[in-house]
Symmetry: C2
Subunit: 341 residues, 2 copies
DNA sequence: CTGAAAGCGCTTACAG
DNA sequence: CTGAAAGCGCTTACAG
């Protein structure tokens, strides 16, 4: 039978107040022997506080919500695992909500989670091209009574703490690497239109070209959706344009680009160099191993949790937005363009 | 300001009883106009029931727990996504708990989730070689007051509903495929010792050899732990034994086997055929694409949810254990052994 | 057709 | 040093 604070009080012959004070370690003036007796009875009966009763009174749940666009993408799966690790170590549970990249689900997930009673929220936003819905979403978030932090992504116009890799710097580093190898006709496969991360990474690409004095050619940019298949299609377009190298805005699309190259009977990196972004586990074992921008998923998860945890304790805390340094991992998918030496 | 049932009652000039009855669609005899008025006021005020108050009274939470060994493994990530999809469609939330393959965390996760108040539980067990802890775990589960179902894996001696692929049949099919190509020296990379799924898959391998009249050679079996690296190491051992083909008990280890083969300067499938198990997304894009046993993750998730949902409505329901049919997907990592034709 | 009231299991001023 | 009591926001017999 489930044991309540009342059962313990009865057995220990004290009031429920006393039991509650002791078991929660609240400041009290209960005598040591009594306190110990209470603790022992609680232990013996396997006492665990009723979560709802506690929540009803304290308004605290020790549960946080995590909203992710797509948990089947390794990057987000690892991110989820990382956040889960940190929050469960701190005694919090995590309710996961998967939006399948649907911004409308972002909205319903926030509502659902808040009604269910979470203490805080971590959100990796889905891209939204719909300006009006996007504005409504910001309004909803602004009125949220629980703290939340943006992870990986962000919404234009939203003011909140958050953490992400420095997307544009990553795009810059990837493109500069290609430039330094001697490439001049460099294509870019972007993430979906309206996606914050996609736009930042593209910006890095554009900046690198500009710095190198290469005029921006829109034909060298193909839009993808961060999925494998779109990388393949986009790469086919770019190959038509005669690019000698491709910066894919994530690894999954880079794999698609490999496929497009192979289908043409070409090889990576001999005929075309490819750089990715994310550094998924598979990128290291793919033949040839993929040169890519590494994101530290565990650091991302840790920082997101820390930002949230700080605000759980002090809701008034200032909103900081952290940007993690990207790492260029040079492997074998990039080399100097053909005939350049 | 958060609006309560009481605020609505006051505004509608009825009792809280009436409001509760209407908003929950309980059998009632409230006049239509009154009912509509209540519904409108609720809507206008954005009323959402307080989860804790409801839970305290009804003992229901509309939340289920999902325990997974490793969400960063694509197979489990997709499984999590699948379960999440079905339960959120049914109005349930899912609390995810990641055990990192640690059976001790299985136990603590169950306790944590139950104390937090879940209506039901889906568990993909981690393997446990420790018989005593395993027995204690079974005892804990037997006394669980909420329904639970086993997903993918299972514990010897436990009686509960569940769903998994027919692991041994999958192992049988994979090995028979190799046999049918003419291979006779077939190695097997198993999952970790004590793992239910690993043992079943190995059993399929052994059965196939026996059926074909090939004596079982323990040197042809190498133990892995379902991770990439262990596949590489195990494959190195097996290659020493002169096998012409390898059945890896999951795709991740099959990728490791590819690596071991390449490191030796050999090729798949010319020098050695490899079959995997799971059919992860990457298996189709790997060069050469991997022949493997396909598991329908979405069906696994759906069945697990259905089994649980049935028991949520009728706890007395009989315990059924469903086994899904494996599918052999033949791609390019397998062919007849060298010099066989 | 509708409401008063008990109770779910806690926490927390407040009183002694 | 310890306890009685109010209250968190609901649901649900029960009474009228």
């Amino acid at each position: 039978m489930k044991c309540t604070i009342r059962d313990i009080a009865r057995e220990a012959k004290v009031s429920v107040t006393t039991v509650s004070l002791i078991l929660n370690g609240r400041p009290n003036s209960v005598s040591e022997p009594t306190a110990n007796r209470i603790r022992e009875i609680a232990k013996k009966n396997n006492y665990a506080p009723n979560h709802f009763a506690v929540g009803l009174v304290t308004k605290k749940t020790n549960t946080i919500g995590l909203i992710l666009p797509d948990i089947s993408n390794t990057f987000f799966a690892e991110l989820g695992r990382s956040v889960d690790g940190f929050c469960s170590a701190a005694g919090y549970s995590m309710i996961l909500s998967n939006t399948n990249h649907d911004p409308a689900k972002d909205v319903s997930a926030v509502n659902m989670l808040v009604n269910r009673g979470i203490d805080g929220l971590i959100i990796a936003f889905s891209q939204d091209e719909n300006k009006e819905r996007s504005q409504n979403f910001i309004a909803l978030l602004d009125e949220l009574e629980v703290p939340f932090v943006a992870l990986d992504s962000w919404i234009e116009g939203l003011s909140c703490p958050g953490v992400s890799i420095h997307h544009s710097k990553g795009g810059l580093m990837a493109t500069k690497h290609l430039l330094s190898l001697g490439h001049r006709r460099i294509g870019c496969i972007t993430g979906p239109r309206g996606s914050y991360t996609a736009e930042r990474r593209l910006k890095g690409y554009v900046n690198a070209l500009t710095e190198a004095g290469i005029p921006f050619d829109p034909d060298w940019v193909a839009t993808g959706d961060y999925q494998f298949e779109s990388g393949r299609t986009a790469a086919q377009q770019l190959l038509q344009q005669g690019v000698t190298a491709i910066f894919a805005s994530n690894d999954l699309m880079a794999y698609g680009a490999y496929q497009a190259v192979h289908e043409r009977g070409w090889n990576v990196p001999e005929d075309i160099s490819i750089v990715g972004f994310d550094d998924l586990f598979f990128s290291a074992i793919l033949p040839p191993p993929l040169t890519t921008i590494h994101q530290s998923v565990s650091m991302l998860g840790e920082q997101a949790w820390n930002l949230l945890h700080d605000r759980l304790r002090d809701p008034g805390m200032e909103k900081e937005y952290k940007q993690l340094e990207p790492d260029l991992i040079i492997r074998n998918s990039t080399q100097a363009p053909k005939g350049s030496c």
